[in-house]
């Protein structure tokens, strides 16, 4: 304890500090200029992200409740970075919104919950973090208070996430009954694969599957993504999903490592269903947010494919893929957000002939789609390649072939967007979209990430070096 406490809990403490600063700004009500407030919030987020690089120590706090390693520090940095990008992209939308500071307070509360969740060394902490990261998110879904769809999305979000955490909790209670402990360090020794433990594991798996929108439990995803404001949708699909993937990876590999053969088969079935259903539904979507919802369901299927590896190669590949996914998905959402704020259009047919008046944005969106589809010069290709190679270690070539063929199928709907931008004729194409400088910077960073991570192998090497 002592000084260590402040160093180990630095990401959480700095987030709490930012939340309090913003709360005081809200109560004080002294700054009337909206862009000043936005500037303050963004600078604070940037400071939070930069601070994540310094003074990282490994250690345990609160008798094993909270632990941090260099891998966890990296994951927290990734989430903080994604939140910063989203906040920069939301600039134009928030400028018109009267509850600007509440948006930041809620979104940072969820980020705080995710940080606690990733660092948790105990199921109690995990549950607390999970709830802290989902309850404010439901309020965020309802952030366009006057829009009907937004309220409906929030209802679906809170109901399905509450139900999911109920199922997760029931599983945890059975695990507690059979192992006599809630700590991640003590539990694996008592896991012997008895019937009740298997049942408990299935409940925990289903609880996570709901949050990750793995296929039999994906019904809420598309509606919530479509109804929420674009900034919240991008947060849901990238940051919230990423945090749960991080936790899911450590839970499966470290905690339930002894039940490996059982969850391997569960994962295989989920992968086949997730990829197929995600692909089939993504093909027929007209709304771009809904389309990206199904695309994100498919991407989760590929992440699970990497996890079937059951070792550190799988988690390295999935974390690397998530970083790339953040760049490419946020670029797509950034442009959809710009268009949505200025024109209110979100459909694919509205993008017909988008290239005529917005050549640069058209290219950015096309590159994001290429990266999501996994076409070689972009980073998405390497992300998927590592995932598939990690999954191939188990020798289930039928599954690998199936996943690879589905990647070809997914080209159809990603290229549909590209076709709409460049090829489809349109008499009255969309007017030139004007975004503020912060959106442009964020899009530039995303594009740099999409291209640079494809050529520069440093990030992947770093993740592997941490894990081994």
């Amino acid at each position: 304890m002592g000084n260590d406490f402040f160093i180990l809990m630095k990401p959480e403490l700095s987030l709490m500090l930012i939340i309090f600063i913003l709360l005081f700004l809200k109560i004080w009500d002294g700054i009337k200029e909206v862009s000043t407030l936005l500037m303050i919030a963004n600078v604070l987020l940037l400071a939070n992200f930069v601070a994540g690089f310094f003074l990282n120590k490994e250690g345990v706090l609160f008798s094993g409740m909270y632990h941090t390693t260099s891998l966890i520090a990296l994951e927290k940095n990734v989430l903080a970075f994604g939140t910063l990008l989203i906040s920069m992209m939301a600039w134009d939308w928030l400028k018109k919104h009267e509850h600007l500071l509440e948006f930041y307070i809620l979104i940072l509360s969820t980020l705080l919950g995710m940080n606690f969740m990733i660092s948790s060394g105990n199921f109690m902490m995990l549950y607390l973090g999970l709830e802290l990261s989902t309850i404010p998110l439901a309020a965020l879904c309802n952030f366009d208070l006057d829009k009907l769809k937004s309220s409906e999305a929030a209802l679906k979000m809170i109901m399905s996430s509450a139900f999911a955490s109920c199922i997760l909790l029931f599983g945890i209670s059975l695990l507690y009954g059979t192992t006599g402990s809630l700590a991640f360090s003590e539990m694996p020794a008592h896991l012997d694969g008895g019937m009740l433990q298997l049942l408990a594991f299935i409940f925990v798996f289903v609880g996570f599957a709901f949050k990750l929108s793995i296929v039999p439990f994906h019904f809420w995803t598309a509606d919530v993504y479509e109804g929420s404001p674009v900034a919240v949708t991008s947060y849901l699909s990238v940051i919230s999903k990423g945090a749960i993937v991080f936790v899911f990876v450590t839970t499966l590999l470290n905690l339930f490592g002894t039940l490996g053969t059982i969850w391997y088969h569960m994962l295989v079935i989920s992968i086949v269903m997730t990829i197929t259903v995600g692909n089939l539904f993504a093909m027929r979507q007209e709304n771009l947010k809904r389309f990206l919802a199904f695309s994100s369901i498919t991407q989760v299927g590929y992440i699970l494919l990497g996890l079937t590896n059951g070792g550190s190669a799988g988690s390295a590949a999935s974390i690397y893929f998530l970083i790339i996914y953040i760049f490419s998905n946020l670029a797509a959402f950034g442009i959809i957000g710009m268009v949505s704020v200025q024109t209110g259009k979100e459909n694919m047919s509205d993008f017909n002939g988008f290239y005529k008046k917005n050549p640069l944005l058209g290219w950015v969106l096309a590159l994001a789609m290429f990266s999501l589809a996994g076409i070689p010069p972009t980073a998405g290709f390497f992300g998927k390649m590592f995932l598939v190679t990690a999954g191939a270690v188990k020798g289930n070539y039928l599954l690998i072939t199936f996943a690879a063929l589905n990647m070809v199928v997914s080209l159809y709907y990603y290229l549909r967007v590209v076709k709409a931008i460049f090829v489809n004729p349109n008499e009255s194409p969309m007017e030139a979209i004007k975004g503020s400088w912060s959106v442009k910077i964020a899009l530039g960073i995303c594009m740099l990430g999409v291209i640079a991570t494809g050529f520069y192998s440093g990030i992947y090497d770093y993740i592997v070096s941490i894990l081994s």
């Binding site: 199921f123 109690m124 549950y127 607390l128 709830e131 309850i135 439901a138 309020a139 309802n142 208070l145 009907l148 769809k149 309220s151 409906e152 999305a153 929030a154 209802l155 679906k156 809170i158 109901m159 509450a162 139900f163 109920c166 199922i167 909790l169 029931f170 945890i172 209670s173 059975l174 507690y176 009954g177 006599g180 402990s181 809630l182 598309a222 509606d223 479509e226 109804g227 539904f281």
Partner: protein, 104 residues
């Protein structure tokens, strides 16, 4: 007469859990769905308390977890009801079947 043991309590809690799941999936009233979620949470609470009392009397993990679940259930209900009220202002109904502006 035999004293009530762990199996009896587990039967009650499991029954409560599935009643909650059934209610959540069949009820069309938003408030009833929320109540079903509370039922499930309470079944989890019963589980934790029973395991703690019968199997691990020396530990406190289960009791702490129960307190935390009760607290979080309250906050979850608060947010859910706020959302339901907001939805009611637009639809003039709290039937989930009416909240169907988004379809496949």
């Amino acid at each position: 007469m035999n004293a009530i043991g762990l199996p009896q309590i587990l039967v009650v809690s499991t029954a409560l859990f599935f009643i909650g799941v059934y209610g959540f999936l069949t009820r069309r009233n938003m408030i009833s769905m929320l109540m079903s979620i509370e039922l499930i949470l309470n079944s989890v609470n019963i589980n934790f308390i029973a395991f703690n009392k019968y199997l691990f009397p020396g530990k406190l993990d289960g009791l702490f977890f129960t307190v935390i679940i009760i607290t979080i259930a309250a906050s979850e209900a608060a947010v859910a009801i706020a959302i339901i009220i907001n939805l009611y202002r637009k639809y003039k109904s709290i039937d989930v079947e009416d909240a169907n502006s988004m379809r496949f």
